[in-house]
Amino acid sequence: MQLEQMYQEIILDHYKRPHGKGLAESFNAEVHHVNPTCGDEITLRVTRDPVDDQKLLVSYDNQGCSISQASASILFDQLNDQTLATGEQAVDHLVAMLQRVEEPNEDVLGDGIALVGVSQYPARVKCALLAWMAWKDAAIQALGQEVSTEGEK
């Protein structure tokens, strides 16, 4: 049944027990993205890692459907404390996978490959991408900035 292909067990697990949800107090960049057709929202903060400032710590708070929430939880697993290059590669692959132009690559997306079933439902692709687009936006902003002591504690 198609429904189970989209709502794989792994997705439902992330949805019910999301990883990394909750906003860090300090951050270099904060973005708020919404999906205007359905009202899904995410606030995502990126903080440059004090040890290696090319790596980005991620925190977020969100509300929305199981797909958008699970996708944010997976993003946290994959991209927390990673570089922009690693993250962009993952975002690009996720987009390509959802457009069915690339086969799922677990090395790049981890549990995110379970989102492949979403590609059958064009209306839900935006839900799956919401957190990742927010991350990209925040990551670019955070790196564009000088590291400020104010933003890091």
Partner: protein
């Protein structure tokens, strides 16, 4: 026993016999977004193109004459459906455009008054000064909210709104404080597309009349579903869409009081809406042509007229009674499911067939997806009424809307589908 012979009616709607999602029978519960179309409507549009097609109100060849007659006959039929005079009905693209037409009349009259040029007789009513007030309600569709926000932002008028009670009704107790001597226009919905609430038009318009404000009614969700007569409603403008009442997409209507239409400046300008044109300036045609610039949607008007015929053959009283029966059943069925909460009135008096609900611990999107997998088409999201979701503190809802081709089996299927979603997501 149902009031309508739904099984027979359904045969008139070709799309209802298709299947969706791996062979499931389609159960269409999204008529609030757009209705399905009977064969007679599809045929009317096709017949226009096959036998009379020409640009209306231009040219004198036989086809042009026939097309113009068909177009104007359609207008007459559609107008009579709501008890209106033919020339008081303006065709627009949809209700959104009809509402913008009124909002822009205020803007354009206001801008014109700033040039110091004399205004046509009666147009002063559309001129807004800083601090004048525009009143809407908290249950408006974005199409009856954003145009007024824009008008206020451009003119310095102030937007005010009537709030909602916890049970999904307008808070009439605040009418006298929200509508004041500065109120120039009150625009509100006849029936909420999210809550299903049918508003007391007489009560709101009496308050508006008392201060001399213009009254605009968004009848998108009422004209398709119940008898509506301009003679019985004390309002100045009524906007609605053809596609929600079995008609085609691309046509909506604005009914306006004759003397108001006559005093309003044009909205969109160009061909068809003029009286005389020189290189320096133009004068404008009388309504409704003044507001119908460019080649109009004649085939769609003819098809909408066929939709009116179809509804009239059933009888709008029967349509309303049938929907009332389904709505009552849906409210009862949903109320019985643990973890389901209806957003909107839970009693079926003064209530239309839009039934919005939330299910504990399952996002509306996910509820909708499970229903979709069962062939049940509902709408999920904020239904272009985001402030209503905020008012009831829900991110979104799942909404079922019922129409003439739905029956009690559809209500049962909906309830069963919701339970299946609960099982699937492991709540309850």
């Amino acid at each position: 026993m149902s009031l309508l012979d739904v099984a027979t009616l359904r045969k008139d709607f070709p799309i209802l016999s298709r299947s969706v999602r791996d062979g499931k029978n389609l159960i269409y519960l999204d008529s609030g977004a757009t209705s399905q179309k009977p064969t007679s409507v599809l045929d009317a549009e096709r017949n226009f193109y096959e036998t009379h097609n020409a640009a209306v109100h231009r040219g004198a060849h036989q086809l042009a004459e026939e097309a113009t007659i068909a177009f104007e006959n359609a207008r007459a039929n559609i107008a009579s459906f709501i008890g209106a005079q033919t020339n008081d009905v303006v065709f627009t693209k949809n209700a959104t455009e009809a509402l913008n037409l009124v909002a822009y009349s205020f803007l354009n009259a206001t801008l014109k008054s700033l040039t110091g040029a004399p205004l046509p007789a009666g147009a002063q009513r559309f001129v807004l000064a800083q601090g004048d007030e525009v009143v809407v309600t908290e249950m408006e569709h974005h199409s009856n909210l954003v145009p007024w926000q824009e008008l206020c932002a451009k003119t310095g008028a102030v937007l005010k709104w009537l709030g909602l009670t916890d049970d999904g009704r307008l808070n009439y107790a605040d009418l006298d404080t929200v509508i004041t001597a500065r109120t120039k226009v009150v625009s509100f919905t006849h029936q909420s597309n999210l809550l299903g609430t049918i508003n007391d038009v007489a009560k709101v318009s009496a308050a508006a009349r008392a201060v001399g404000a213009i009254v605009v009614l968004d009848a998108c969700q009422s004209i398709p579903h119940m008898p509506v007569s301009v003679e019985k409603l004390d309002v100045d403008f009524i906007a609605w869409s053809g596609h929600k009442m079995l008609g085609p997409m691309g046509i909506g209507c604005l009914w306006g009081r004759n003397e108001l239409l006559a005093s309003m400046p044009p909205f969109i300008s160009g061909g068809s809406m003029i009286e005389t044109v020189t290189m320096e300036a133009s004068t404008f045609a009388a309504p409704p042509q003044r507001f119908e610039a460019g080649v109009p949607m004649a085939a769609q008007a003819v098809a909408l007229s066929a939709a009116v015929d179809y509804l009239q053959a059933i009888g709008m009283d029967k349509v309303a009674a049938h929907e009332h029966e389904l709505t009552t059943a849906a409210i009862a069925a949903l109320s019985e499911i643990k973890g389901v909460r209806i957003i909107g009135p839970t009693d079926s008096h003064d209530r239309g067939s839009a039934v919005s609900f939330v299910v504990d611990d399952i996002h509306p999107h996910d509820v909708g997806q499970v229903l979709d997998s069962l062939g049940i088409a509902v709408r999920v999201g904020h239904h272009c009424a985001w402030p209503v979701c905020r008012r009831y503190d829900v991110p979104a809802t799942t909404r079922a809307t019922f129409y003439i081709y739905n029956d009690l089996n559809d209500v049962k299927a909906l309830a069963a589908g919701i339970k299946q979603a609960q099982e699937f997501f492991g709540s309850n």
